[in-house]
């Protein structure tokens, strides 16, 4: 009897949950009510994080839509399974489905807590949660999706024929054959991505969204509601900090995802560059194209515009150039200025980069995605990523100058044309830098075996053999950060040999996964 009541109670609970989550899609506007154990808390969060990371990976590698779908689907199956509604569910099904959906909701909210505290984290979370939502939305069964949508407060009604007549000239202009298209009228703020691409007719503050873009409408609404909610979470957070059981877990979750961070605080790696070193590093190929391009313009013009100074200056900081040296370097580079003008107008900027002025924040060098996505260079600017922002002709010139063969240059041109900027950059690294690195390793190995350091020699031999041919260092990680290029190139070859080669070895011993911090064991 006891058993029976227990069962019926869980049945009731499961029914309650299925009514609580009648659909797979979730707007996450209601807070979870069920309790979670501390152990589950972390597992749920990490599982969801794996899915979001998979999405990120797919987008960094510029997979096409179909591949991306496959990747996301596989990750979801594994870590965040969500079954669709069954036509005739057994209580067992219901229980399982309810549990899945509850976990989906809970894990979402745990990550919210973990990611709401800094603006960068919030942006990362929103971006990838939105992508996950979009994937699920597109994947949902049509009937369920329509019922779900109708229950959300999305006020987008299709326009009437009258309204349509009034703007038909404009509609036809943008959509030459639009007879069987539906249009939805929403405030333009709701579909900014479409406005930005001029993919919608905008009239008197309203955007007329074609039916084909309806999912954009829904996804954007999801995104903006998530953004607002995260911000209010962030405001509420100081109160939660008191719950000291959660804080360490949340911190560790957020850290799990933190992308490799090139803060480049001086001396971090125990070695620093000097102002005299910089110009010599460029011809050796230690700078990625975006930076060697800025460097070339800096040399030619004796000046760089603000965004260029930021991009290049922070990169130099990341290479380990200390503030004093940076001041010397920039002073020399801006050779047309008087000392007075320099110290008045530019020295501040440089100290600022190093967190010595203003809000004293230690600014991190820009990552590729930041360089590629934000702040499109305007006339006279040289910042940005050449793979993204240069003309095919000038890109080709730069690529050849960097030492790529004609064939490789063609390949790279194609990759950038297709929008695979970072892959193009990685390719350039492979063809121009990898041979030098491999040679350097062999040299180190030779030296090491001469001095009897067998472990090191073995490691090198393994590294080289692993590549199958003598000038291959194996698969290079996708370049995600200009300083990653620098680190791989500089620390991997002669120039960095004195200080860096030993580290590279140790890293390789670790399967190459170790960050620069793990080096001095």
């Amino acid at each position: 009897m006891n058993n029976n009541t227990k069962r019926s109670r869980t049945d009731a609970a499961s029914r309650k949950v299925t009514t609580e989550f009648p659909f797979r899609l979730n707007w996450y506007s209601d807070l979870p009510t069920a309790e979670v154990s501390l152990a589950d808390f972390e597992t749920y969060a990490l599982n969801r994080l794996k899915v979001l990371k998979a999405i990120e990976n797919a987008s960094v590698r510029n997979r096409n839509a179909e591949d991306t779908k496959q990747i996301v689907r596989a990750a979801c199956e594994k870590y965040l399974r969500l079954e669709p509604n069954h036509p005739a569910p057994t209580p067992e099904d219901n229980r399982r489905i309810a549990a899945q959906r509850r976990m989906d909701q809970q894990s979402h909210f745990i990550l919210r807590l973990a990611f709401c505290r800094t603006e960068d984290n919030r942006a990362w979370f929103v971006k990838h949660e939105t992508a996950l939502f979009k994937f699920r939305y597109d994947d949902e069964m049509l009937s369920d999706r329509e019922i779900w949508i109708s229950q959300q407060s999305l006020s987008a009604a299709a326009i009437t024929s009258q309204e349509r007549a009034a703007i038909s000239a404009d509609l036809t202009c943008l959509f030459p054959s639009n007879f069987d298209m539906k249009f939805y009228k929403v405030p333009f703020e709701h579909v900014l991505s479409l406005v930005a691409r001029r993919a919608v007719v905008v009239k008197n503050g309203f955007a007329y969204v074609p039916g084909t873009e309806y999912s954009t409408l829904v996804t954007n609404a999801f995104k903006s509601s998530l953004t607002t909610q995260l911000e209010s979470f962030a405001r509420a957070l100081p109160r939660m900090d008191e719950d000291d059981r959660l804080v360490p877990i949340l911190n560790s979750i957020a850290r799990q995802c933190a992308m490799r961070d090139y803060t480049g605080t001086e001396g971090q790696n125990g070695d620093t560059l000097t102002a005299n070193d910089i110009d010599g590093l460029v011809p050796q190929g230690h700078f990625p194209l975006c930076m060697s391009n800025l460097h070339a313009h800096l040399k030619a013009d004796g000046h760089l515009k603000h965004s260029g100074r930021l991009q290049f200056g922070l990169f130099l900081k990341g290479t380990g150039l200390p503030l004093e040296e940076a001041l010397v370097y920039w002073r020399r580079a801006f050779n047309k200025l008087t000392d007075d003008k320099f110290s008045k107008e530019y020295a501040y900027n440089i100290r600022f980069n190093y967190g010595k002025e203003g809000s004293r924040k230690d600014y991190a060098p820009y990552s590729c995605s930041k360089i590629i996505m934000s702040n499109h260079p305007a006339a006279g600017d040289h910042h940005g990523c050449p793979f993204r922002h240069a003309t095919p002709e000038s890109l080709k010139g730069m690529v050849l100058k960097a030492g790529a063969s004609e064939a490789a240059a063609l390949d790279i041109a194609r990759l950038s044309k297709e929008g695979h900027y970072q892959i193009a950059c990685t390719k350039l690294f492979e063809v121009t830098r990898a041979p030098a690195i491999a040679r350097a390793r062999i040299a180190v190995a030779a030296a090491a075996s001469a001095s009897g350091s067998d472990a090191a020699a073995a490691a090198v031999a393994a590294a080289v053999a692993g590549g199958n041919e003598s000038v291959n260092i194996g698969i290079v990680d996708i370049i995600e950060h200009p300083n990653q290029w620098f680190d791989m190139s500089y620390r991997g070859t002669d120039a960095g040999k004195r200080r860096g080669a030993k580290k590279q070895l140790d890293q390789d011993n670790d399967g190459g996964a170790a960050g620069p911090m793990d080096i001095d064991r």
Partner: protein, 468 residues
């Protein structure tokens, strides 16, 4: 460059001073437009901090402020106001004491009441004026950010005291900007700001002729027309199909004092737009994109046309063929037209045009109609050419925006009715309906205004009341 020629002309005439330090500087940083003062793109990252790095344009002229020439006083009263006697130049006559002029300008002319009324927006929202950032550039080169004021009186008082050579308007924050220091970092945030646009001739350097003159103003006139149309609201209910894109009613266009225009969109909805929305609007309006590495800056679809592009084309077409093509040296020398030919994605056609243009007597208009005829004829066979004409047109005449100024909430923009420290011209509003007839060379100069006041004073009150 604009300022070089100007500086030199002016000085050799007036001061017979061969070269000036500021024209030297122009050569290196003059192009470095808005680099720092308007807050960098990543103002957010920079924690809203000030960055002292002025644009040359916006620096007070050293010669203007530091060389005191003749003593003031009677001088400008007796000197007959002769606004048009000077050569066509936008530069300030150096032999004036700019600060004394400014003092008088602020005391007698600056519209403080209207300024306060504008920025308080009917006091509908609490502390809207009090939480607004203003910033001042002083003659001493110092730059005071995060100033804020209780009311118009306090603002006036402070301006009269400091006599800033430039006043910038920033965002409305969640607290009083002057108390920023006492607020925990990260808790002081910009909430609202007008949607602003900044268009400056510097951005047109790659496509305009070397000399500067009224002809270049065509670019600004076109910009006003195109942007104003896109931002405009429904004119009247019955006429719905004439409603324009974004539906903003309150748009103020202002002459920047030198060679550009600013636009302030003040609707409630515009002020509340977040950074994303501003970025989207800018991207919607921006057609000319790309840095120096990118010679093809305009890419338009050949399959369909966005209504905003169609409307812009209606405005650009006539001006391009009747004025720009002749005035801007676009198709004159091979050096110039090679740049244009780069925009044509068809080698054979380029060759044909080149050889036909070897005939030196061909006028630009003829060359243009050749391009038009050829591309149109070919576009049926070669779809790549379908959008080429449009792309050329837009490349040479479509507004070029300084997008960072528009996007960042906490960017600053020079306030209307300031006096440009280099030219001495007042940043007066431009009525967009009559923008065709706006002539920057006739914008009032502070010098002339003060003369008029003095003349009036001496005639009416019996003596100058302006300070010496």
């Amino acid at each position: 460059m604009f300022s070089d020629t100007d500086n030199k002309d002016n000085r050799s005439e007036i001061l017979s001073q061969p070269a000036s330090p500021s024209s030297d500087n122009d050569a290196t940083t003059g192009k470095n437009k808005k680099a720092g003062y308007a807050q960098p793109q990543s103002a957010r990252d920079l924690g809203n901090e000030l960055e002292i790095n002025f644009d040359e344009d916006d620096l007070p002229t050293k010669t203007a402020t530091k060389t005191t020439r003749k003593s003031f006083g009677v001088n400008y009263i007796t000197a007959a106001p002769a606004p048009s006697s000077a050569p066509l130049s936008l530069m300030l006559d150096s032999d004036t004491d700019f600060l004394a002029l400014l003092d008088c300008f602020y005391r007698r002319l600056f519209p403080f009441r209207e300024f306060y009324r504008w920025l308080s927006y009917g006091l509908v929202q609490r502390n809207y004026f009090q939480n607004r950032e203003l910033s001042f550039t002083l003659a001493s080169d110092s730059y005071l950010r995060f100033q804020s004021f209780k009311d118009g009186e306090e603002l006036k008082h402070r301006i009269l005291e400091l006599k800033p050579v430039k006043i910038d308007i920033g965002a409305v924050y969640n607290a009083k900007p002057k108390e920023k220091k006492s607020i925990q970092e990260g808790r002081f945030n910009a909430l609202e700001r007008e949607l602003v646009f900044d268009i400056d001739m510097t951005d047109y350097d790659p496509i305009r002729g070397a000399d500067i003159c009224l002809k270049c103003w065509d670019f600004m006139t076109v910009s006003i027309k195109i942007l104003d149309r896109a931002l405009e609201a429904e004119k009247n209910k019955k006429d719905f199909h004439r409603a324009e894109d974004f539906g903003f009613k309150h748009r103020l266009w202002v002459y920047s004092g030198r060679r550009g225009v600013h636009c302030w969109v003040c609707d409630d909805r515009a002020r509340k737009l977040n950074v994303e929305a501003r970025r989207a609007i800018v991207s919607y309006l921006e057609v000319v994109k790309g840095g120096d590495e990118n010679s093809k800056k305009v890419s338009l679809s050949s399959k369909s046309t966005h209504p905003a592009i169609r409307e812009a084309e209606k405005i650009l077409g006539p001006i391009f063929t009747t004025r720009l093509i002749n005035n801007q040296d676009i198709l004159t020398s091979p050096e110039k037209y090679e740049k244009l030919l780069q925009l044509i994605p068809d080698e054979e056609l380029k060759k044909r045009l080149r050889s036909s243009w070897e005939n030196k007597n061909k006028r630009p208009v003829e060359k243009w109609s050749e391009i038009m005829g050829e591309t149109q004829a070919l576009s049926k066979k070669k779809p790549a050419l379908a959008a080429t004409l449009q792309e050329i047109l837009f490349n040479y005449s479509y507004p070029r925006l300084d997008s960072n100024v528009s996007i960042g909430l906490n960017h600053l923009l020079k306030a209307p009715f300031c006096v440009h420290p280099k030219t001495g011209r007042v940043c007066i509003p431009i009525d967009q309906k009559y923008c065709d007839s706006f002539n920057p060379f006739q914008a009032p100069k502070v010098f002339d205004l003060i003369n008029e006041i003095s003349a009036y004073d001496s005639a009416h009150v019996g003596g100058p009341s302006v300070p010496g």
